[in-house]
């Protein structure tokens, strides 16, 4: 089971770029890397997913080095509304679907004015 390690918390200021790195040394060949965002009293919300290199959408970018043992979620120009918990998780597709998708404790991002 691929375990992930993230910083417990991070602080930033509005307008800055925030990079949250996740370690997943035991990632399997067919694992994808997925990031979720969770606000208080809400369920997690999908942000971005990738397999290798770089993925970008309207919300964030995901950088994955060649060895795939880590990944970095990049949030450009954060605002106060980006204050949330960010989870990195690994999981895979395929017909088995039996490997558990495990959320760690996440990274609590606090954005200050």
């Amino acid at each position: 089971l691929a375990k992930t390690t993230q910083p417990i918390s991070m602080d930033s200021y509005e307008g800055q770029e925030v990079n949250i790195t996740c370690s997943h040394n035991n990632i399997a060949t067919n694992d994808y890397i997925t990031w979720y965002q969770q606000f208080p009293s809400q369920g997690p919300r999908f942000i971005i997913q990738g397999y290798k290199t770089k993925v970008t959408n309207e919300v964030a970018s995901l950088f994955i080095p060649a060895d795939r043992k880590s990944s970095t979620l990049s949030l450009p120009r954060v605002s106060l509304s980006d204050t949330a918990v960010y989870y990195c998780l690994v999981g895979h597709g395929g017909d088995t679907g039996r490997r558990a998708l495990t959320f760690g404790s996440g990274t609590r991002l606090q954005v200050q004015p």
Partner: protein, 115 residues
């Protein structure tokens, strides 16, 4: 598009009582998950359904927890009898595919307090 619906939003019970939670996934989503989220921790998968069949219930405490998804749409999660350590938010999620790495859509959760 309507999201994942859950009810109730909050529930307070005494230990040894029973409780049930209901989930209605996004229309057309064949895969449904129940997660337990204890305060300060990330969600933990309890059970995964594909249509009305169980794909993974390896982390479900089967001596007290049960879940069903009749007709492959709505689902209920039951706890009987509840323990203090069951106090948590119970999240329901659904997805189009069976791959849990793919996008899961979460409901707002049911916050359970066991006293």
């Amino acid at each position: 598009e309507a999201g994942v619906a859950q009810s109730p939003r909050y529930k307070i019970i005494e230990k040894r009582q029973s409780v049930a939670f209901w989930c209605n996934p996004i229309s057309g989503h064949a895969t449904l998950y129940w997660y337990q989220q204890i305060l300060g921790q990330g969600p933990k998968l309890l059970i995964q359904f594909q249509n009305n069949g169980v794909v993974d219930d390896s982390q479900l405490p089967k001596d007290r927890f049960s879940a069903e998804r009749l007709k492959g749409v709505d689902s209920t999660l039951k706890i009987q009898p509840a323990k203090l350590e069951d106090s948590a938010v119970y999240l329901c999620a659904s997805s189009l595919t069976r791959d849990r790495g793919r996008e899961n859509y979460f409901g707002p959760g049911t916050r359970l307090t066991v006293t």
